[in-house]
Amino acid sequence: MTQLLVRLRQRPLLWQAGLLVLAILLPLPLGDYYRTVIWRTGVYIILGLSLNIIVGYAGLFQLGHAAFYALGAYTAAILNLRLGVPLLATFPISVVVAGLFGYLITRPILHLRGDYLAIVTIAFGEVVRLALVNNLFGITGGANGLSGIQRPNLFGLELRQPIYHYYLMLFFLVITIFAVRRLEHSRLGRAWMYVREDEAAAEAMGIDTVQVKILAFVLGSGWAGLAGALYAAKLTVISPDLSKFMESVVMFCIVVLGGTGSIPGVFVGALGMVTLPELSRPLKEWRDAWLGIAMVAMMIARPEGLWPSRRVQLEIRETKE
């Protein structure tokens, strides 16, 4: 068994291909309800990975991430409903719009210390939600949101069934994982971790900390916009609830409880935060209470998360001693 693991570790392509085949086969034996559940989980994994750039790699507290999810969904919906842009063509625009907002919103607040950054991002998330509810510029549809979004059309194939949406999501999830892995080991990724661990030292080493932090926010926010567009494409109905504070907290918990800065951690987090409550109804009513207990207990017993990245684990262990 251990020999097998060692061999798998030596041949990353092998287990990566195996996981991909598993992911492709996964929805086939399932019914539409469970296909939707795994689709939802996948969307939250994408959201978690995007937030992981901000919280995990760069170490910045973002408790308003759902605002960018909502902005992506609304961009896709408004372009489709107002201008008739085909839904799949709105995806890149959603990413750009959400990323742009990420820049505009975070540029002025980067100098704030951790917990204050968290508060301001909460406030921004609420401002976005209230602006959507109050029907800003008369294009957001107010508290009811927007409906009647056209289904995406891929070379004449109308994506209607959950399984098509699952594969659409999987396509983007694979791209996301590939991209964040590359980012993590890039010059920029190392700069993020340096900033996270010691900002003053990073600056002394010639890292433009402001630029590096902004890039984390812009990339993370833009990618959350993509998840929003995926949501709009499947549900065809969206509402300001997308940017509820609770959504932001779920995303934050996916990252932190799974293991800050760790890609498998995000998967574990999404399973715990999204799939489990979805599958067990009684847990759903008390979900927030369980979540709260899990958050407190995790912070006391295992602050590095369930499947942490090695670097973060070492860091936390060190500061505790």
């Binding site: 704030l112 917990d115 209230l130």
Partner: protein, 301 residues
């Protein structure tokens, strides 16, 4: 004249914010952490008040204003002890664990408290039994009206805040509290029992918050489980506005936020009043991160 009426209403709401903001500011002062659970402790004041009032009215078969006194004592006690318990269980083990862990833990406690309220009382709007809220009011010149309830609320808030101010400035325990918020390690060397002081802070802050919850529920007459979050965030904004960690600052910030919000909702649009509160927060953090009277909060190496 409408302006003066708005001002009176604004100061009333501001005194609620101030009472809740004191809890945030005191905890921040000694622990340098944001107690995200404070808003929900405040909300439990409203729910416990509801239970107490319903029981009393059921026993006396008719509601009247004297019932506020025993219920208030009960509510303050229970919420204050809950606050101490929360600190023991969820915050004390994390005291040396960096910044992220206490935030997550506090959010976790907030969820537990909110979920308990929603599942035990239901997600519907709650109203207090009739007859327990004093009604009536005084007509001042020019059509300005000030309700009995508003007068009572203002008196109660100012008495509570005044008592707190005297306690912190004039007693030994208050002096120890100020010392801990200045420098916990040195205070420990000087013989201050830091853990005990932190417990006292978690007794007073949530106690005031619980009182505020009861007062707010009496004043508005109805509330639901989202009260803790929305009101808590506003009160936190008030604490930052006045300068977090600073007790007179929280009072000033609360009053100012109440007045600004009421004026904005009267003269601009009630729909946007929450947005205006958040924008005030963002502007304050951008241009005067120390708050009006407070210490520096932006990162400086």
């Amino acid at each position: 004249m409408q302006f003066i009426q708005q001002l009176i209403n604004g100061v009333t709401i501001g005194s609620f914010y101030a009472l809740v903001a004191l809890g945030y500011t005191m905890v921040y002062g000694v622990l340098k952490m944001i107690n995200f659970a404070h808003g929900d402790l405040f909300m439990w004041g409203a729910y416990l008040g509801l239970t107490g009032m319903t029981l009393l009215v059921g026993w006396a078969t008719q509601g009247s204003a004297w019932m506020i006194a025993p219920v208030a004592i009960l509510v303050i006690l229970v919420v204050a002890l809950t606050g101490v318990l929360v600190e023991r269980v969820a915050y004390r083990p994390l005291r040396s664990a960096g910044r992220l862990a206490p935030i997550i833990s506090a959010l976790g406690v907030a969820f537990i408290l909110e979920s308990l309220a929603r599942n035990l009382y239901g997600a519907k709007w709650q109203t207090y039994p009739s007859g327990v809220t004093p009604s009536g009011g005084l007509m001042l010149s020019g059509g300005v009206r000030i309700g009995i309830m508003q007068i009572a609320v203002l008196i109660a808030s100012f008495v509570l805040m005044g008592a707190l101010y005297l306690f912190v400035q004039r007693t030994r325990l208050g002096m120890a509290m100020r010392a801990v918020s200045l420098d916990a390690n040195v205070s420990r060397l000087m013989g201050v029992d830091v853990d005990r002081i932190i417990s006292v802070v978690f007794l007073i802050g949530p106690g005031l918050g619980g009182a505020a919850g009861l007062i707010v529920a009496l004043y508005y007459g109805s509330f639901d489980f989202t009260l803790g979050w929305t009101f808590g965030l506003k009160a936190f904004i008030a604490a930052i506005l006045g300068g977090i960690g600073n007790i007179p600052g929280a009072m000033l910030g609360g009053m100012l936020l109440g007045v600004v919000e009421t004026l904005a909702s009267g003269y601009i649009s009630p729909q946007w009043k929450d947005v205006i509160a958040y924008i005030v927060l963002i502007l304050i953090l951008l241009f005067r991160p120390t708050g009006l009277l407070g210490e520096r909060i932006a990162e400086k190496v």
